[in-house]
């Protein structure tokens, strides 16, 4: 797993990367009530807003850490937005991207570095 400064995580399997927000991020946002996900087939660029997490008091932009095409979104979140709170780094994943540029992953933090900077 790799991490960004803006609290997203990426896990790649071949050329498909799964993206979500970190446990730290969800703890800051409060109860997530709604997730706005990108459309499948949409092109995303690294560092550009791809999804929005809404709580009752805040709305947070999720920036895609990688560039590519959206291949899948986590449909479970439509009914169960709270998965982002209860399992941010596993079943609360947001979307999957077919990678264009593997070097983008190299620039990110590993788990130890990220967690040393951001503890819940």
């Amino acid at each position: 797993m790799k991490f960004t400064k803006t609290h997203e995580w990426v896990e790649s399997d071949g050329n498909i990367a799964t993206v979500g927000v970190t446990n730290y991020a969800q703890s800051q946002l409060g109860d997530i009530v709604y997730v706005e996900l990108p459309k499948v087939g949409m092109k995303v660029n690294a560092g550009v807003e791809a999804a929005v997490l809404e709580s009752t008091k805040a709305a947070a932009d999720v920036y895609s850490p990688v560039s590519g095409i959206i291949t899948e979104v986590n449909k479970e979140l439509t009914e169960k937005a709270e998965l982002v709170n209860t399992s941010a780094e596993k079943s609360g994943w947001l979307f999957k991207v077919r990678l264009e540029n593997f070097s983008e992953l190299d620039a990110m933090m590993n788990e130890t570095d990220y967690k040393s900077k951001n503890s819940v």
Partner: protein
């Protein structure tokens, strides 16, 4: 549990009465093709039950007329009833907005005069009353700035600078008007960080939006320098008049270097908040911008008032008709009753009341900005976090003490903040009672924090599940 008016429906009952249909009207029936076929699921309710329902609703609400309402940024001053009286005169309420000018000279005179009065008060030379609220006033002002730049072919000007502690309508409005937002930092003194501002301003800067005093209740000591920096790059300065109550008649807004501003009649000029509206957001401006003002405009010609509906430089229309005319009546009378003399007293008293309160509660909270404040001030309740108590809890407990809570968590940049604005209306006794309530709550935090954490206890409901409301929205009966 409270029932909705829909749940109080009783079959066949009704409140209405209608003029009877004369024989001559009976033959006219609409074509069946267009007739509504579905049921209208409105309640059937008699007038006595309708009346009791809304009276019950009133019991579950609170207003300035009932309690102290120190909401920072809102200016909850007394709403004089004489304003309500005159706004109900038939001579005003029965006028159609498209009535010919010669038949509504009284209304046109009020519009014309109110703009003159507001211009005098703020130091500007022209204005419009048309925006229906402060946010719409901001939109009009920024649109005027945009047209000004367009006329001069300043196409590179694509950015508006906004302080990080600004009210949310500022960036939302600038975006709607087509600009990108650049955020400037506030320093530890609560003022604009001039160095940061200098680094942000460029040939792309169309303007800066500013509230002064700012949303922390502090007057920017560097306002004249800010004006120089922005103007030297060809930008214009927009004044958000939300905090005008602090410097009303004390300072000319125009002389601070602003080019255009909006006023909130429902804040500074006492028109009622009505539970969330209607408001009114007149815009005043200097010579540079006056040709861009929206239409219709009222002018005096050959001794009569008349309307201009078209003007080549005008940004066009912003309202269906003349804006919230009923609100102008109230603001106009308020200004005439005070005169310039009475208006001058307002700022003095508002600032005095605020500083008194601040001094009296300074031992209860963290005071991020120790200097004298203007009409409102910020305190932080972060010193109670170790007891598990947040600003929100204190706000809720105040409701049990019969006071409406101050503004909480605005501005966003101050942690656990309460923004308190007493206004000039309040007597010292009321202020002292508020202090006593806070002192009691602080005592409770020490001895029995649970009672604060679970407040309020004496209202029709306890704390509401806002997560549920957002996750599974139920938005109608």
């Amino acid at each position: 549990m409270s029932k909705t008016i829909f749940e109080k429906s009783e079959k066949g009952q009704h409140a209405y009465s209608l003029p009877k249909n004369d024989e001559e009207f009976k033959m006219f029936l609409p074509d069946d093709r267009f007739i509504r076929k579905t049921d209208i699921s409105l309640p059937e309710i008699s007038e006595i039950n309708l009346t009791r329902h809304f009276n019950e609703m009133a019991k579950r609400n609170m207003g300035i007329d009932n309690t102290f309402y120190p909401l920072g940024s809102c200016t909850m001053k007394f709403n004089p009833r004489v304003n309500e009286l005159v706004a109900s005169f038939d001579g005003f309420t029965k006028c159609h907005p498209l009535a010919p000018a010669q038949s509504v000279q009284g209304n046109l005179e009020i519009i014309h005069e109110l703009i003159c009065l507001l211009s005098e008060i703020t130091g500007f030379c022209a204005g419009t009353l048309l925006p229906n609220a402060g946010a719409q006033g901001e939109f009009v002002g920024i649109r005027m700035i945009a047209e000004y730049h367009k006329k001069l072919s300043h196409f590179e000007k694509t950015e508006i600078i906004i302080p990080d502690n600004a009210h949310g309508t500022n960036p939302a409005t600038a975006k709607m008007a087509g600009y990108s937002i650049v955020s400037v930092r506030t320093n530890e003194l609560g003022d604009i960080d001039l160095d940061h501002l200098k680094s942000l301003v460029s040939e792309k800067t169309a303007g800066l939006m500013l509230t002064n005093p700012n949303t922390l209740g502090l007057f920017s000591k560097v306002i004249l320098e800010i004006s120089k920096i922005i103007h030297s790059h060809g930008g214009l300065l927009y004044y958000d008049g939300a905090n005008l109550n602090a410097i009303l008649k004390f300072v000319s807004i125009e002389s601070m270097g602003f080019d255009v501003m909006h006023i909130n009649l429902h804040k500074t000029f006492s028109t009622p908040h009505g539970g969330g509206g209607p408001g009114s957001g007149p815009v005043l401006c200097n010579d540079k911008l006056k040709s861009f003002l929206p239409v219709p405009r009222v002018i005096m010609k050959d001794g009569k008032y008349t309307l201009i509906n078209d003007d080549k430089d005008s940004i066009g229309k912003i309202a269906s008709f003349h804006g919230n005319f009923g609100i102008y009546l109230r603001a106009y009378l308020y200004i005439k009753l005070h005169g310039h003399y009475g208006l001058y007293r307002i700022a003095e008293q508002a600032v005095l009341n605020a500083n008194y309160l601040k001094k009296r509660i300074s031992n209860l909270f963290t005071i991020p900005f120790p200097q004298h404040c203007m009409h409102e001030f910020v305190v932080q309740a972060d010193n109670y976090l170790d007891k598990g108590i947040r600003a929100l809890d204190i706000a809720k407990r105040l409701l049990d003490y019969g006071v409406h809570a101050p503004t909480v968590y605005f501005p966003l940049i101050i942690k656990e903040c309460l923004l308190i604005e007493p206004t000039e209306s309040e007597s010292k006794v009321t202020l002292d009672q508020f202090v006593e309530a806070l002192e009691n709550i602080v005592q409770e935090i020490k001895e029995n924090p649970e009672i604060v954490r679970n407040a309020p206890h004496t209202k029709p409901v306890t704390r509401l599940d806002e997560t549920l409301a957002a996750k599974n929205p139920v938005l109608h009966a």
